[in-house]
Amino acid sequence: MSRLLRGENLLVLVLMTIVGVYVGDTLAGGFSVGNLAFVLPVGVIALGLGASVLVGQMRSPTQCPSTDGATPPAEPPPSRQGISPAVGMSVLLVALVLALDVAPFDVATWLFLLAGLWWLGERRTWFLVIYPLVTGFGIALVFRLLLPYPMDTLI
């Protein structure tokens, strides 16, 4: 069971859950051809593919099931090196989006850039003072001028 909830298996399970919940919600909407003609077959095939990946992984955990072994990996999986900075940046990104709802856009962006630079290893004081301030307020100003939507900004 623990093997099923790890790495690629967990991702496949999440994708299968998304597909399963969506197909279930579609079925709840009615059994008309217009509603099901596309979603049901595509959903069933996706679930089948997901199950085949899981079965393949459970049988041979070190090898990915492949029906086309000659195709080179165009998007090689990244190394483990970037995981912890990425997790930190994810948290900051979520914080930025939440902050945009309550704080002025320019202030939230300035703080995000400051925290992001610090988290990723920038330690030059003058750069940490100037760059986030200029870029954060600059981005917010340019987009406020370009976009027709309301944007709460300090400047």
């Binding site: 597909v19 990996p73 856009f105 870029t135």
Partner: protein
């Protein structure tokens, strides 16, 4: 096929006033900037400047918007090559070989190749448009919903095959994308997958999801490095290498011609366009290559195939816009809006009555291509400096731009929230070799695929025999099956019959 009177009229239109020409250079610059900025869509830039066209005459307005379109077509290849972030779905296949070239320190050559292929592709498609606008528009009109449905499936299967280490992973990602593309209110009025959120009634915000899946996930994978190109020597921008790449394009005339032909034809299909044409051209070039294993590892032919096809799609999509009044994609939809502003309706009657204007648009686009060559060269030098920016500065800055870009598209927090969710999912998918490109193309085409399937069902009355009366559908189905299983079949036959 050419009307000499209308041709002379077009030249008179273009030479009688400076006004149409004054807007071309600013249009190209806006397009280059918008295309090259991850999270800033070319169609969005066109929409932003649309109100300015109120104050222009019809020809100037169309030339201004097509200049943005042309500049953006090339501009979107720049982040694809430099950062593996396609500026739009049209540049997905460009990243397959362009980004590996960057990692090898050959980014200036790749940018030159992309510029050359884009210019030639766009010029050829407009030449084709000039020659065959009337017969081509008639042919496009004959494509029914069954053909369009199979074309969408073909596009998805191609990207699934091309971008994943395994077909199963590629197809799974593509199918999940297709399903998510149908979230919201369906064509028949059924509401699905919204979970009570009104914002999802119109579906998952596609562009923010694309920004998240492509840009955010790629930025996360860059973390842990100091620069995009770590070797300082290889990160030098050399004009000679850019020019060499540019000139190298002409050494592959077959790939350029094939890519341009595919781009013009696929681009003429409403709703499909450049998102599919770059993949079809890339797949075809890889299939015909003597060394297919070198694709995805920095083969210049891959960049040329993709860029010549996506740029020539512009001319193709102009066919349907001018001849049928149907926009081929988001960019041509904005052009259609400009048509409406000037009380112009595209269609056979428009072509018949305004052939001189149509020719003027085509001729001016030839000039735009030449200007793009000049402006593009200068712009490349500027934008290629991105490889000298430390990743610790680049990543937070572009993440902030992505969030603002998404807000700009939706006008609410649904855009930024979608960016974050899609970005994290995309990063997770990349870590396990699931192609985000397949999911994105699925997301883009899901609603269209469902609509065309339902229309096919309605027209056929549920009778499968209807498909036997559609030879083009059958040919497309055969191509789809061949794409999926042709390689395996061939290898099986080789194993059996060859020692």
């Amino acid at each position: 096929m050419l009307s000499p009177d209308a041709f002379a009229g077009a030249i008179a239109l273009l030479s009688s006033s400076w006004e149409p020409w004054l807007v071309v250079v600013p249009g190209l610059m806006i397009g280059l900037f918008a295309g090259a900025t991850p999270g800033f869509q070319v169609s969005m830039a066109m929409a932003i400047v649309l109100p300015f066209t109120y104050y222009m005459d019809f020809l100037s307005a169309v030339l201004f918007l097509t200049a943005i379109f042309t500049g953006g077509g090339y501009g979107s290849s720049i982040p694809a090559i430099l950062m593996n972030i396609p500026g739009s779905s049209a540049a997905v296949a460009t990243a397959f070989d362009g980004y590996p070239m960057t990692r090898q320190g050959r980014f200036d050559e790749a940018l030159g190749l992309a510029l050359g292929a884009s210019c030639i592709g766009a010029a050829l498609s407009y030449l084709l448009l000039l020659l065959v606008i009337s017969p081509l528009s008639t042919a496009v009109l004959k494509l029914g919903p069954s053909e369009l449905f199979v074309i969408v499936l073909w596009g998805i299967s191609l990207i699934a095959l091309l971008s994943a280490e395994s077909m199963v992973k590629g197809l799974l990602a593509g199918l999940v994308g297709l399903l998510l593309g149908t979230v919201g209110m369906s064509a028949t009025g059924a509401i699905r997958g919204t979970f009570g959120l009104p914002v999802l009634l119109d579906g998952v915000p596609v562009v923010p999801a694309m920004i998240g899946l492509f840009a955010v996930s790629e930025l996360f994978t860059l973390l842990g490095r100091s620069y995009i190109v770590d070797d300082e020597h290889r990160a030098k921008v050399r004009v000679s290498r850019i020019a060499a790449g540019l000139l190298r394009t002409v050494r592959y005339p077959v790939i350029v011609l094939r890519g341009s032909a595919i781009g013009a034809l696929v681009g003429a299909v409403p709703g499909v366009g450049a998102s599919v044409s770059n993949l079809v051209s890339y797949a075809e070039t890889k299939r015909r290559s003597r060394e297919p294993e070198s694709f995805g590892r920095g083969n210049p032919r891959g960049v040329i195939a993709s860029e010549s096809a996506n740029s020539s799609s512009e001319g193709g999509s102009m066919v349907t816009l001018l001849a049928l009044g149907i926009p081929g994609g988001a960019g041509t939809a904005v052009l259609l809006a400009a048509f409406n502003i000037h009380n112009v309706t595209g269609g056979p009657r428009f072509i018949l009555e305004n052939m001189d204007v149509v020719y003027a648009i085509v001729l001016a686009n030839f000039v735009q291509v030449v200007l793009l060559l000049v402006l593009g060269l200068g712009f490349i030098r500027l934008i290629a400096l991105v490889v000298h920016i430390p990743v610790r500065v680049l990543v937070p800055t572009i993440l902030a731009l992505c969030v603002f870009g998404a807000y700009g598209i939706t006008g609410s927090m649904s855009g930024p929230i979608t960016v974050v969710i899609a970005g994290l999912l995309g990063w997770w998918m990349r870590r396990h070799g699931y192609p985000v490109a397949a999911a994105v193309v699925g997301l883009l085409l899901g609603r269209m695929a469902e609509g065309e399937l339902i229309r096919t069902w309605q027209i056929s009355g549920g009778q499968a025999s209807y498909l036997l009366e559609r030879p083009v559908t059958l040919i497309l189905v055969a191509l789809l099956v061949l794409s999926l299983f042709g390689g395996r079949l061939l290898r099986g036959l080789r194993r059996r019959f060859l020692p």
